[in-house]
């Protein structure tokens, strides 16, 4: 059984691969997108439980994608982790302004990212108004 479905969005194919590997090892189901537009399509069609989102990407950047997800009522509860080489405070602030749940600066530790994801998904599960199970 998968622990959850995670969408990994990055234009750098190596990053996508390594996250696929690390999260896969952790028991997550990983779906991927290589640019912003593709990301939004996958969000709509796959309804992931969490999104790991790069910022500097072709077509639509991470901020735009995040804003779009957070302004759509059907997707606004999906946690978004921005993963970016943009390490300045203003970049982070902008990230939180568009509704990101976390901001991790590249280069990152896959282990720590996995921990954050576990944490966020654990939290969101408890915070979600749970219907009877």
């Amino acid at each position: 059984m998968s622990k959850g479905k995670i969408l990994v969005v990055d234009d750098e194919i190596y990053i996508v691969h390594i996250l696929d590997f690390s999260l896969g090892m952790e028991g997550y189901e990983v779906i991927t997108a290589l640019d912003g537009e593709q990301a939004l399509e996958k969000v709509a069609s796959e309804k992931p439980d969490l999104i790991v989102l790069d910022i500097m990407m072709p077509k639509l950047d991470g901020y735009e994608v995040c804003k779009s997800i957070k302004s759509n009522s059907s997707t606004q509860n999906i946690p978004v982790i921005l993963l970016s080489a943009k390490g300045r405070n203003v970049d982070q602030k902008l990230g939180f302004d568009v509704g990101a749940d976390d901001y991790i600066t590249k280069p990152f530790s896959p282990r720590k990212l996995v921990e954050r994801i576990n944490q966020l998904l654990g939290q969101t599960v408890t915070e979600r108004p749970t219907p009877s199970t």
Binding site: Y14, I15, F108
Partner: protein, 859 residues
Amino acid sequence: MIPSVELLWALAASALLIVEQVRHRRTLRHELRSLRSSYDAVIQRNEELTQASDKMGDLYRHQLLTSRKRAARIKKVLEIAMSMNSNLSLDKVLHEVVHAVADAAGFRIVLLRVLDEAKGVFEARSFAGLNRDAIRKLEQHTIPQKEFESWLKEEFRISRSYFISHERRFWRRNEDEGYTPDLGARKEGEWHQEDVLFVPLYTRDGAVIGYLSVDDPIDRNVPSKETVETLEILATQAVVAIQNANLYERLNESMTQLEVATERAEELNDLKDQFLSTVSHELRTPLTSIKAYAEALLEHVGSRNVDTQRQFLGVVVEQSQKLSRLIEAILELTQLESGRFRMSREPFNVVALAEEVQGLLRSAAEAKGIAMRVEPAVPEVVLEADRGLVKRVLFNLGNNAIKFTEEGGTVTFRVGLRERVVHLEVEDTGIGIPQEELGKIFDRFYQVDNRDDRIYPGAGLGLTVSKSIVEWHGGEITAKSEPGKGSSFTVLLPATAMEAGVITQATYRPTRSVSDHLTRLTVEMIAEVMNARTASFMLLDEESSELYIRAARGLREEVVNGTRIKLGDSISGWVAKHGQPLLVTNIEEDPRFGRRNGHQYETKSLLSVPVKVQGRVIGVININNKISCTPFTDDDRALLSSLSDRVALAWQRVSEHEASSDRTEEAARAITAIIENARRSRLKLSTGTMAARAVALGRKLGLSENEVEVLAYVASVHDVGMENVGREILDEPGRLDHEAWSRVKVHPVRSAEIVKPIEFQEQVTEIILAHHERMDGRGYPRGLKGEQIPVGARIIAVLDAYESMTVGRPYRHAMTHTEAMQELRRCQGTQFDPGVVEAFAQLVATEGNTNPVRAREAA
């Protein structure tokens, strides 16, 4: 009756008395008279004294009044000088000073000149007592600093000023109309019309920054020491004012500079931010992969999946390489830009280098399914440059081409050599670059996709690094592109460091009608044909009536960009104004320009000709520093004038057809051929003598000045078509076969075709075409006979034959002068015009051992 004795006595007594009385009276009268005269004298003296006293009183009062007036005036000047501030312009203050001099020191005519440090001349700035015409004249006439300083002889000095009496005046005055030099008899110490008093304006450290020149004193007296001292006090005020104004100006300038600098700093800061952010992003990307994969490997080190581990390690290695390349590029750029770079030039084959680079890029191209090829024009192109750096340029251009080309595309490297310039071209069939972006692509970190997408990652440093490298070699890099079809980058590098003779193009160009390429070629042609180390091409900026240097060879960049010459000023200004050429054999001795030789000129000789389009001067061509270090001659003048006419024509044609690059291409081809021809003929023994002999022969045979100029030009270009015949034919031993011979035979036609785009005189074409015709009609290409052959062509034929006979070919020994002359004589009437041969014989006879062929023979 006898008189009584008494009566007699009485009578006698009376008589005596009378005599006594008379005598007494006489004495009295005398005394009275002398008393009278004494009295008169006293009265007179008294009157005199009274008069003198009155006079003294008047004088005293006058002096007092004058002194008061002067004091007031001086006070005013002092006040003004003290209050000199931002609101008060220098001209206002100088005006006050000059009028104070006029009023307070009592001179009707006052002129104040201020030193223009940049030009080294004193310019008339302020005047009193002069009419508008006189002012205009003075304003137009500047006094060179050195000239003025030479006037300040110790013998003329009064206090710190110089009074040069008309008797000791050592220069001649330009006599104006209605000018009366002598006013007749004068009293001792009276001012003479031609006396001059200069009051230099000294700064505190003794430098002269201007001077007062005063004339026509109200008291008509030669100035006293006191007057001079008054003037000097006023002069001091002028100095203060000028220095204040200069300071203020400089302050203003600094303020503007500061503003610009601040703006620039802000810009730079933005750029730096952007740079840092881009660099950090570019560095982080490979680092991110390295860290993530390395950590994943570490975590799963026990995993048995060796393939995954190998794959991960592969990513780490690859990304590490990417990272180090990036760091290298940044370091390289920093080094290049800081100028701490050491370049080592060595000759190498660029074709082989291009193939090597192709090999380095092969895997990247194959991975994207891109075909790559090297197309050399010839198997070997030797370039004298830093091989490593040129390799870097080719690599960067190739790498970019691959990066921006889609699958199935092609990347082509072309290598060629033209006009001693190595052409390297890297062409792709990629996405292309929008026209408006072309100008920015060489900027640091610039990427066309910066604005939105980052499909094509890279530091954006490749082109910047490449440009720096190319410029370090004295070359240039340009880009052409058609979006959707592909881009092509062209690098032009001088084949050898020596040949380069760096040509500098001005950054200032009010009109853009003529391309950099053509300008460069024009300057190069002039320098090469004229054998001049320094050549500059100036254009007239119609708006400001100033000449600026459009491009130059052998001048420093700051000279090229900083020179502005007013119409009429200096040598080029004179040439532009009068539309006449000017030949100066020794500038230091030329009375027109005494001691104005710029430090950038090694030789004292220079030649300047106007460039005229339809009778209007559009610019000036200047040459200095003949390679032979001899002065320019009238032959050179004739040749340069013809060249200038061709340049003007090319300019006119190109600017009339701005859109058409064909015109530029045509003109460029013609000029290039002339440059190559000039370089080829430089290798021959009789360097530069062909044009000079053509001029001399033309004159000897009674040709017009215009025909002589044409001849000088033709002598320099008549064989431009020879290169197309092929070196191998000319250098080949043995007799020419039929095929080769027919190729040789067309070279006059080729030559005429090549120069046609810059030709307007049919004469020129005719002479070029006919210079291999023979008197007996057996010549080529048209078989003209005798008088049908233009006289110019008959002259060139003799000169050409003599030259080729005495130079020799690999298959034929060079003839001696005597042998060559015998051959010319033998062939006169059949091949050559006997009249021309005779004139040539006479001419060569006068050359003596200055003729290298004869010198060699003599040795």
